[in-house]
């Protein structure tokens, strides 16, 4: 009897122990992150369509990488054409898609319109390429604009940095008339803050009226005795200018604001030494762990060298918004306060919602092409 009871107790004890020993079969579910919808405005058609392609690729890459980092992101890419009008309509159709924020646009007028539209429709807009005068809009109470691209003055600062680094004695400015406002802003800063001697400036007319004007300028500049020539045209024309300048016997170092003249494959094909250029980042000088990833994956997926301004900044803009939005709460204050990792560096925004370019964590890179390869100046 007692034995039975004992046995029962033991069995019960064993069963109890077994029960206790067995781990819980139903694991507690991890909290599902809400989807972050990001709209991207890309000039797929019109004048800037080649830049548009780059930005589109970069945006897709950003989505991919963000997902790998565990963010639940959806990138919606819309064509914003080459006109502010089309930009505004595209912006609003993205708003209709219910996006958290919108990044991109290419030209200054597009950025300006997008900024106003952002304020009207209360959706955050991160300008990733244009250097238009957006700060004034922020100052006048438009809290919805941010910019991770350079502002006009930083273009100047980089140019000055180049002059200092290379200890150039003299420099000459080549402006591009269709980008007069942008160039003038940059030039005035250079003139005010470099020790090098200013040897004059010339302006290349818009090719719409005078397709041969770059030749005239190139030949007239080739005669000048100057160490560095600063070219303010990021477009296709800059390549023509450089070629013509060298043909005309000019041998000064050419510093380009980037764009076409910052593309590795173009430089390699052109194979003209002494072309310096700025880029948001270069593969040879990794800023963050994302830098290499961006350049390698871009090459892997799209078969061409990655664009190192318009492309990389669009890529970063998407990552910035992703990181900010993932924190939850008010996106604007997140962007204002937080620090964000991108391929070009670690971003922070100042009181005018302008990325702090020039801070030690976020600096443009200056490369120079010579002897068939790109070296980093700073």
């Amino acid at each position: 009897m007692i034995g039975k009871l004992k046995a029962g107790l033991i069995v019960g004890l064993i069963v109890f122990l077994l029960f206790c020993a067995t781990p819980p079969q139903t694991p507690t579910p991890q909290p599902q992150m809400p989807e972050i919808k990001i709209g991207v405005l890309v000039p797929k058609t019109g004048e800037f369509s080649s830049a548009g392609l780059v930005m589109e690729n970069a945006a897709k890459l950003a989505e991919k990488h963000a997902k790998e980092m565990g963010y639940n992101v959806k990138v919606i890419i819309y064509d914003c054409g080459d006109k502010p009008e089309t930009t505004k309509t595209a912006f609003l159709s993205l708003v209709r898609e219910g996006v958290t924020a919108i990044v991109g646009t290419y030209s200054s007028p597009q950025a300006m319109t997008a900024a106003d539209t952002a304020n009207e429709s209360k959706v955050v807009f991160v300008a990733s390429v244009a250097s238009a005068n957006l700060e004034s809009k922020v100052k006048t109470g438009n809290k919805y604009i941010f910019r991770n691209a350079y502002n006009t003055s930083y273009w100047g600062i980089l140019a000055v940095e180049f002059l200092e680094k290379t200890k150039a004695k003299s420099y000459y400015l080549i402006g591009y008339e269709p980008l007069k406002t942008f160039n003038l802003g940059m030039f005035s800063l250079i003139k005010n803050s470099t020790k090098a001697e200013f040897r004059g400036e010339s302006w290349v007319k818009s090719p719409t009226v005078s397709p041969e004007d770059y030749k005239r300028v190139a030949q007239e500049v080739a005669k000048k005795d100057v160490e560095v020539i600063i070219v303010g045209d990021p477009g296709l024309g800059s390549v023509d200018f450089v070629r013509e300048y060298r043909l005309a016997g000019g041998n000064a170092t050419i510093y380009s604001v980037g764009g076409t003249l910052a593309l590795p494959d173009i430089l390699a094909k052109l194979n003209i030494s002494g072309i310096a250029f700025q880029a948001a980042a270069l593969e040879v000088k990794a800023k963050t762990n994302l830098t290499k990833k961006y350049f390698e994956d871009y090459r892997k997926y799209y078969g061409t060298e990655a664009n190192n301004y318009a492309g990389i900044l669009t890529y970063d803009a998407i990552l910035i918004v992703t990181q900010a939005a993932a924190k939850g709460g008010d996106l604007i204050s997140n962007l204002e306060r937080g620090t964000f990792i991108g391929a070009a560096g670690v971003y922070e925004f100042d009181e005018n919602h302008q990325a702090k370019w020039g801070s030690e964590k976020l600096q443009g890179t200056i490369g120079i092409y010579g002897e068939g390869r790109i070296q980093v100046v700073s």
Binding site: P84, T89, S93, T113, T181, S206
Partner: protein
């Protein structure tokens, strides 16, 4: 006949309906409206005065700029007539491409318009007006301009304008002095185009050199072509183009330029244009 009525009803629906829809649709509709006014103005010049302008973005864009720089300047916008009219010395056949080239030239010049440190390639911020209000205004102006043009071209004055279009010597032979009627034809058209330009600037709140771009210089032509050169269907035409190029472009980027190409090629086969047929 039945088709015409259908078109008119459809246009009326398109005018009224968007007023009750969301902001995005309203914006699209409003821009379609202003461009419809633009098209109507172009159509008047083409049909009644016989001048097919491919540079109609000149009055359109210049007035938009005037409005952006200082709203008081819009009273000068009718003077844009005298930018376009002098090109008529090239004659009817050369005028289209003379005006086209000139508009491209202005497109370039617009990059240099700097006022109080603003402007250049960035363009100007135009005083943007409440969308509902501007929509209402646009509808009213479109209706008024249609009435105006209908009234004018059926008046004795309009008849004289058409006469000058057909044969200036014959006009002289019955005591009509061609010059004033030519100028007035241009003036009416350019003033309407100016109004369209101002509304356009007000809707988008920003004016940039692109208002002179070939897109706008060719727009009325394409719209009128789709509309077979009739006023009502041309209004429908401009709605179609705006829908195709701005609403669809985010989804099918290449598509809307293709539409342009097709429309233009078809245009050259359509017969329904005014223009003096037998020249002696």
């Amino acid at each position: 006949m039945l088709v015409n009525i259908a078109i008119r009803i459809l246009v009326l629906v398109l005018l009224i309906l968007p007023a009750f829809l969301d902001c995005y649709t309203k914006l699209l509709a409003a821009s379609a409206l202003t461009l419809a006014i633009f098209t109507v103005s172009w159509l008047y010049l083409e049909k009644d005065s016989g001048w097919a302008s491919l540079g109609h973005s000149i009055p359109f864009g210049v007035s938009a700029y005037l409005f952006a720089i200082n709203p008081l300047l819009i009273f000068f916008s009718p003077l844009t007539t005298f930018l376009l009219f002098p090109l008529s010395i090239f004659g009817k056949h050369t005028f289209p491409f003379a005006s086209f080239v000139f508009s491209v030239f202005l497109w370039y010049l617009a990059h240099h318009i700097v006022f109080e440190g603003k402007g250049g390639e960035e363009g100007f911020r135009a005083p943007s007006i409440n969308l509902d209000l501007i929509y209402l205004i646009s509808v009213t102006i479109l209706v008024l301009s249609c009435l105006l043009i209908w009234k004018i071209s059926n008046s004795y004055f309009g008849l004289k304008v058409k006469a000058v279009r057909d044969d200036e010597i014959a006009a002289k032979a019955i005591g009509i002095n061609p010059l004033p009627f030519k100028v007035l034809g241009f003036a009416i058209s350019c003033s309407l185009a100016s109004i369209a330009g101002i509304l356009h600037a007000a809707i988008f709140g920003h004016v940039s050199p692109s208002v002179f771009s070939p897109y706008f210089s060719l727009f009325p032509f394409v719209a009128a072509t789709i509309g077979q050169g009739k006023i009502w269907s041309s209004i429908l035409g401009s709605y179609t183009v705006v829908f195709l190029s701005w609403f669809l472009s985010p989804y099918v980027p290449e598509f809307h330029y293709a539409i342009y190409a097709v429309a233009l090629i078809l245009a050259s086969y359509t017969q329904s244009y005014a223009r003096s047929g037998r020249s002696v």
